[in-house]
Structures are given as structure tokens and as C-alpha cells.
């Protein structure tokens, strides 16, 4: 393997960030990113599914016949998504409600099938595990970033987990009173994604010049 372990783990964070660079998993990235807490919840779910499906697909890569590999991958992924759904329903009902239909849709999230196809079915179990964590964290970072921008501008708040006296909601004085409502709407998400993509493309190009 040409890549070092560290590279496998960290490439998903920025260099091959699934959302901004490879453009995978866009539906949930925009669908649930109206509040920071939803972004984090979705991220945790995706990391879990990605890590375990990567491990299992890597373990089974020599047993699954190539011609039926896609349905086989989907079944493995769907099993883990069902587990995430049930656990979230039981222990984090508020996030479960907020994520709604996007939670079962993790099954068809292109990141997971994409990593299974591009990485897990030809690499060792440990490498696949690292890749799962790296890509999952990269996805979560991207999602949290989009959610942070959308929530701060669109509602003037930052919603986190409530602990003790802290209600979990940070209010930003001026924006709370005069929010830029479009950011919470569907249109705002698409516009923001366009600008962020352009920004990341610019960063990449500049690095290439140097």
C-alpha cells in the first residue's frame, strides 16, 4: 500500500473531503444542516455506519461474488442504518425527530457505498476502518460547518446539547433579532453550497500554484 496509515486517516478531513471535494452525500448534508446539533447527530450516525460497513465489507471482500456485490453491500449498510435508527429513536428522540426521513436515507448516501466500492473492497480491515473514520469525520466537519453558517445567519442561534443550566442554545445578539431568513430555507442551502464549493476550489487551485 502506497499510502501511510496516517494519510488514510486524514485524507478525508480536507484533501479528499467527501462533501466539498468529492461531492458525495449532498442530500443529507443540505437537508439536515439547519441546526448545528442535527449536523452533529447526522455525522455521528454516518461515522458509525461508515466504519462498520467498511469493516464488514473488507472482511467479506473475498466471499462476496463480484456480480452481486452492490446488493450485498446495500444489505450490509442497511442493517447498520437500522441499528442507528433504533438506537437514536431510543436514546435521542429529539434528534431522531429532527433528522426525520434523512436518517433512513443514510442507506443510499453515496459516501458509504462509494467508500465500500472504492476502498473497503480492496484494502485490509484496519485500513478500511481508518478510512471509515477519516471520511466520516470529514463528512461531519463539512456538515457542522454548513450547519453553523446556516444557523448563525438564518436564525441567529447555535444549538448544541443542553447540559445542566445551559439550555443548549447560544444566541447571537444582532442576528437573533434580524436573521437572514433565506439561509434556513432550501434556496439558501443551495446558494451557500455553491459559494463554499467555489471557495474550496479556489483554495485547491492556490495550493496547486504554489
Amino acid at each position: 500500500m502506497a499510502q501511510s496509515k496516517k494519510e488514510i486517516l486524514t485524507k478525508g478531513f480536507f484533501k479528499e473531503n467527501p462533501v466539498f471535494i468529492i461531492m458525495l452525500g449532498l442530500c443529507p448534508a443540505l437537508g439536515v444542516s439547519t441546526q448545528v446539533i442535527n449536523g452533529l447527530g447526522m455525522g455521528v450516525g454516518v461515522i458509525f455506519v461508515l466504519v462498520f460497513s467498511n469493516i464488514f465489507i473488507s472482511l467479506l471482500k473475498n466471499i462476496i461474488p463480484p456480480s452481486v456485490r452492490i446488493p450485498a453491500y446495500i444489505v450490509i449498510i442497511a442493517a447498520f442504518v437500522t441499528i442507528v435508527e433504533m438506537v437514536m429513536h431510543a436514546y435521542a428522540p429529539a434528534i431522531y425527530q429532527a433528522l426525520g426521513i434523512y436518517l433512513p436515507l443514510i442507506v443510499v448516501n453515496c459516501i458509504i457505498l462509494g467508500r465500500a466500492e472504492a476502498f473497503a473492497n480492496r484494502n485490509s480491515v484496519f485500513d478500511s476502518f481508518l478510512d471509515g473514520i477519516g471520511m466520516g469525520v470529514g463528512f461531519t466537519l463539512a456538515l457542522t460547518m454548513i450547519a453553523l453558517i446556516r444557523e448563525v445567519f438564518g436564525a441567529g442561534t447555535i444549538t448544541l446539547i443542553s447540559i445542566g443550566n445551559f439550555s443548549g442554545v447560544i444566541k447571537i445578539p444582532l442576528l437573533y433579532k434580524y436573521p437572514v431568513r433565506i439561509m434556513t430555507l432550501a434556496a439558501g442551502a443551495l446558494l451557500l453550497m455553491g459559494y463554499l464549493k467555489a471557495f474550496f476550489g479556489y483554495l485547491e487551485k492556490r495550493k496547486g500554484v504554489n
Binding site: L30, P71, V108, N109, L185, G194, G201
Partner: protein, 196 residues
């Protein structure tokens, strides 16, 4: 909900791409020219309509009687994957011309969120068989509409002096955002005004 209301809702008011972000990957990936947009749209509409019926039947007559509702996600994706494979085989055998047009898009449909999305929505909204079918077909038509509009915008965008960093995907997203803004004119109030 009447059938007309379902159609208007899923084509305009709750357009899958522009308000729910489902099927965003093909929206960006396949919208480079209008020909492939039409092909993809037709394939998705076809599969969404049939998938709605199939998943409804499986849910009502298999999962509910057996108390296996928690396996919904797993079952639906299997039904959809099998269905897509089946449709591909039938089209290939009976209509080579149609297969030429839709062939390359069919495998992509299994992982299109809109198909699984409509299957789950039909259940959560409590639609009956006919309503599910209408919702599926209407969702597909809405998807096709957005895809065709987008591909036309992108074809014209090729000729425009777009700043370098915005070329390609970023400007596609921004056009999509503006389109979503336009689609906001179709809201619940419009539906009530139209249908009373």
C-alpha cells in the same frame, strides 16, 4: 388528499430536489446536457412510480402482519434494488431503443435518495395504494422538471463569462438555489387557493 393535490404538491410545492434535496447527486452529476437529463428523468419517474406500489404492497401485506415494521429501511432498499435490476432486464429484452436511452442511468437509480425517500414518505404520510402511486409518479415528474430546467441553464452557462472558480459545479449550485427561490412561489397557500 385528492389526487390533483398530490400531483401539485410533489411536482411544485415539495419538489424533491429543490425543497428536500433528495436526488441532488444526479441533479448535479447528470445535468450537463438536456438529452441525458431527459433520459435520467424518465428512468427515475418510471422507477419511482413502480417502487411506490411495490413498497406499499410489501409494507402492508408482509411487514405489518409479521410485525417487522422495524425492518422497513432494509426491506425497501432491497425491493428497490431488485426492482431496478428487474426493470433493466425487461427493458433490455423488449425495447432495445429505450434501453439505449435509459440503460446507463438505471443502475444509478438504486442509490437515488428520491426513490427510497418517496417509499418512506408514502408510509409516514399514510397514503393508500393509489395515492402512493400518484405521489411516486408526481415526485418523479418534479425531479424530471427540475433536472431539465437545470440542464438547460447549464448548457447556456457554458457560453457565459463565469468567474473561473465558479465554473462548473459551484455555479450549478447557485443556479439551483435561485431556481429554488423561484419555486418558493408554489407554496401551500397556492394549493389552497387553487383547490379550495
Amino acid at each position: 388528499m385528492s389526487y390533483v393535490a398530490i400531483f401539485i404538491t410533489y411536482i411544485f410545492v415539495n419538489n424533491f430536489i429543490l425543497t428536500q434535496f433528495m436526488g441532488l447527486c444526479p441533479f448535479i452529476g447528470v445535468s450537463k446536457n438536456s438529452e441525458s437529463a431527459i433520459g435520467m428523468g424518465m428512468a427515475v419517474t418510471f422507477v419511482m412510480g413502480i417502487a411506490s406500489i411495490m413498497t406499499y404492497l410489501v409494507y402492508t401485506f408482509v411487514l405489518v402482519p409479521l410485525n417487522l415494521v422495524y425492518l422497513q429501511t432494509l426491506t425497501f432498499i432491497l425491493v428497490i434494488a431488485a426492482l431496478v435490476q428487474f426493470v433493466e432486464m425487461i427493458i433490455q429484452k423488449n425495447s432495445p431503443a429505450l434501453y439505449q436511452a435509459l440503460g446507463i442511468y438505471l443502475p444509478l437509480i438504486t442509490t437515488n435518495c428520491a426513490v427510497l425517500g418517496i417509499a418512506i414518505l408514502n408510509i409516514t404520510e399514510g397514503y393508500n395504494l393509489m395515492q402512493s402511486f400518484c405521489a411516486g409518479t408526481a415526485g418523479g415528474i418534479g425531479f424530471t422538471l427540475a433536472l431539465i430546467l437545470m440542464s438547460n441553464i447549464r448548457e447556456r452557462m457554458e457560453l457565459q463569462p463565469v468567474p473561473k472558480v465558479f465554473k462548473g459545479v459551484p455555479i450549478a449550485f447557485i443556479s439551483g438555489g435561485l431556481m429554488a427561490l423561484a419555486f418558493m412561489a408554489f407554496d401551500k397557500a397556492l394549493l389552497i387557493n387553487l383547490l379550495g
